[in-house]
Amino acid sequence: MAGLEDYKGQTPAWCPGCGNFGILKTFKDALVDLGIEPHQFTIVSGIGQAAKLPHYLRCNTFNGLHGRTLPVATGIRLANHGMPVIAVAGDGDCYGEGGNHFLHAMRRNINVKLFVHDNQIYALTKGQASPTTAEGTKTKNQPFGVFSEQLNPMALAVAMDCSFVARGFAGDGGQLKELIKAALGHRGFSLVDILQPCVTFNKINTYEWYKQRVYNIGPDHNPNDRMAAFGRALEWGDRIPTGVIYKNDRPIYEERNPVVRERPLVSMKFEKSRLEATEKEFF
């Protein structure tokens, strides 16, 4: 059984007080709870502060390009669906640079778990607006304030019939741990958007700001009810719902595709014997 110390990775290069520390700790707790060992799964990340997370854990890791977490994660799953695959991305990484992949991963319903550290800012590049930055927010690069409307990942995911849609908060480890575990246990593409205070570049969406607004949607909400989920997903402002907003049990890609339904590609042996028959087809 793996314990917390088995998950001790490199020393984080995040700013003191960063919301990512809470997420990292909760992540480890959830993995220990689930009894998953470091070598049994893979984390794919992109580029950004959030994307450094797998180095601070111990696990199989593909730390790829900015925005391209989901295609790599999809490729790994398609080659080896015996292994859980987790994607970790920032809001810029996933909703901006990689927005197209996000849409299509939801459509494909590949059984990848996506965790977005949503600090509503581009942190690594020092404070530009991200797709989830509030309209009107002034930054060095948006001196007149952001003109574009804020992207709503929850509503987008419900609209795309994403298999599992949840929101967590880095400041509420207890709930976040349960959401991480629920996502990992769910069969289907899962999105957990995690509100993550950026203490250096986001002076608006602070711990305090979130704390005053987040509420746990609790047992009254039926996450299988898509219309109700839409209602919750559209809530943002004075009250921000957290918890499992929506889920369904759409069949996953890996079980629909007959090529890999029985066994993963990685377990198949190269068979030369059939080649002659294939060559004959050209005569």
Binding site: T61, N63, L275, E279
Partner: protein, 574 residues
């Protein structure tokens, strides 16, 4: 015997089916076949043609002269009448073209009436036309009949029967009415293998143990995806149509990281989107094979035509320094084996390997006696299961003497497999320090490069010993250059040098081709592009400058006669 049949008409008239079927009739008859296609980027209308050349001698290119023109539209007649050979014939249907032509070489065949009368439907007109070709050539119906049987079996006996009676009607009509048809056929022999460039790359991938192919459709590479998709279940190879080319290459890299051989394919525009992923392959040392089918650019260019304009792009694109391999097959058989070699080198050195081709090679059918399956290479360079578990320690990017690190499969053992697009240490974790950076550049680039270089085969030489004239080329110009050189070899001391393993540029250790070029009086580099990209590469890599250049950039391939004529002109002048 060396005949060419051109089928011309609108998109949607079934020209490709007629061309493919005739090509197969000739290859099954034991003749050597070469086909090429010229089509527009549209689904209906416009004007397209398909040319089938067949002979009892090997053929490797198209000729300008046509012996039989099957005209499904009037444009075909306007455009190609003048290309008809001396005893050539134009088969057309005056009632469907609503025009009658006079002249000794016109042969009016009621494709549609015969189809309606004998096959019960106008749809059979193409079958009548194919039957008419058999009749004009003096061939029997049996081989074509068997092909129609195979093609329509799944549609039921009635459809098969209707096709066979239509074929017979066309054949009988031609035998009785084609006055002066004087084609003489060589005796039949053992059937030959008939394959296109994209089929050869697709089959080459499967024959190399490829398990994953992700792509976004783009002419002229789509044929590879079509071929592999048809083999998915039989071979256990998964084809995923990605949302874009960026995704396609990243998916392939993910699959490769997870332990399977992976490939993607595209054309120039899609490859442009893949470029960051190419660099990611270089940095993470994750093997991937990329099939790059060129078409004339820039931008969307001429989507369905041919060009060799992306060589420099394939050689130099992607940020940072890392080794890569670029192969440019000249024939489908080479495409089959170079795809195989691309997989082998990609896996062996953990690098990207590019197979660059073009629309001309993609869509051309060639005949061979066989593909030489015994020549295939397959070595699993990955550390899997027990082999990985047996190690005491494991570092994905361990610094080794040859720069090649142990390539573990994640999940197969307690050893973690970690890699990063950031500069990383031996374990694969992100670093910033200068010393590790230098170690990694040396490991990943400087140590591997000479090893990869040594794998590259020298160019192929064909022709006179110590020639006065050397024609050089790369990739798909192989066929036209070879035949042009053969055609001129009675007049000149001439030879050809063909490069199919392009980068790292082959050394002269095994074959002193620079010596050969230096001794020749005239050296001409033939390229399907405007600036002579290969000639520039040659100069950059070896210091050798060709004395002349023949460049074609109208989106069309070289043909034997036009190239031979061009060479004559140049040699006279030079």
């Amino acid at each position: 015997m060396d005949y060419s049949i051109r089928i011309g008409g609108e998109a949607g008239q079934g020209i490709q089916t007629v061309g493919d079927t005739l090509a197969k009739v000739f290859s099954r008859s034991g003749y050597h076949v070469f086909t090429h296609q010229d089509y527009e980027s549209r689904v209906r209308g416009g004007h397209n043609f398909y040319q089938v050349r067949f002979s009892d001698n090997p053929v490797t290119a198209s000729r300008d002269k046509i012996d039989i023109l099957i005209a499904f539209d009037t444009i075909s007649i306007e455009l190609y009448e003048k290309e008809l050979s001396e005893n050539g014939r134009i088969a057309y249907d005056s009632s469907s073209l609503k025009t009658g032509y006079t002249g000794p070489y016109f042969f009016d065949v009621p494709f549609y009436d015969l189809a309606l009368k004998h096959g019960g439907s106008k749809i059979m007109a193409n079958t009548v036309a194919m039957g008419a070709v058999m009749g004009m050539l003096g061939l029997e119906a049996d081989i074509l009949s068997a092909l129609l049987q195979e093609a329509f079996e799944s549609k039921g006996e009635e459809v098969v029967a209707a096709n066979v009676t239509s074929l017979t009607a066309g054949l009988v009509f031609a035998r009785q009415n084609c006055s002066g048809c004087s084609f003489s056929m060589a005796p039949l022999s053992e059937p030959k293998l008939l394959i296109t460039g994209t089929e050869a790359i697709g089959f080459g991938a499967i024959a190399s143990g490829c398990r994953f192919y992700a792509a976004y459709p783009m002419t002229p590479s789509t044929g590879i995806m079509n071929y592999i998709a048809a083999k998915e279940e039989e071979y256990g190879v998964l084809v995923e149509q990605a949302e874009d080319e960026i995704s396609a290459i990243n998916m392939a890299l993910g699959a490769s990281f997870a332990g399977v051989r992976a490939m993607t394919g595209t054309s120039g525009g899609g490859f442009a989107l893949m470029v960051e992923g190419l660099s990611l392959s270089g940095m993470t040392e994750t093997p991937v094979v990329i099939a790059l089918g060129q078409r004339p650019g820039p931008a969307t260019g001429l989507p369905t035509r041919t060009e060799q304009g992306d060589l420099q792009f394939a050689l130099y694109t992607a940020h940072g320094e890392f080794p890569r391999v670029v192969f440019a097959p000249g024939t489908p058989k080479q495409a089959f084996h170079l795809t195989n070699k691309a997989f082998d080198l990609a896996e062996k050195y953990q690098i990207p390997a590019i197979v660059i081709f073009d629309q001309y090679l993609a869509d051309s059918c060639w005949t061979f006696e066989g593909l030489d399956l015994d020549g295939l290479i397959y070595n699993d360079y990955r550390l899997r299961g027990e082999a990985l578990r047996a190690l005491n320690t494991y570092k994905r990017h361990e610094v080794t003497d040859d720069g090649i690190s142990p390539f573990g499969v994640p999940g197969d053992s307690r050893h973690l497999v970690v890699t990063d697009s950031d500069e990383h240490d031996e374990e694969g974790h992100i670093i910033e320090d200068a010393a590790t950076r230098v170690l990694m550049v040396e490991k990943r680039f400087k140590k591997k490069l000479p090893l990869v270089h040594a794998e590259m085969a020298p160019p192929m030489f064909h022709g006179h010993k110590d020639p006065d004239i050397v024609m050089a080329g790369w990739g798909s110009t192989y066929g036209p250059i070879k035949e042009a050189v053969d055609a001129l070899s009675g007049e000149y001391s001439i030879g050809m040098l063909h490069f199919s393993e392009i980068f790292p540029f082959p050394s002269t250790d095994r074959f002193d081709y620079i010596g050969l070029l230096s001794k020749a009086k005239t050296t001409i580099c033939v390229e399907n592009n405007a600036q002579g990209q290969f000639a520039r590469l040659m100069r950059a890599e070896t210091g050798f400058s060709f004395s002349g250049h023949i460049n074609r950039y109208d989106g069309r391939p070289f043909t034997v006669e036009s190239l031979a004529g061009d060479i004559r002109g140049r040699v006279g002048r030079l």
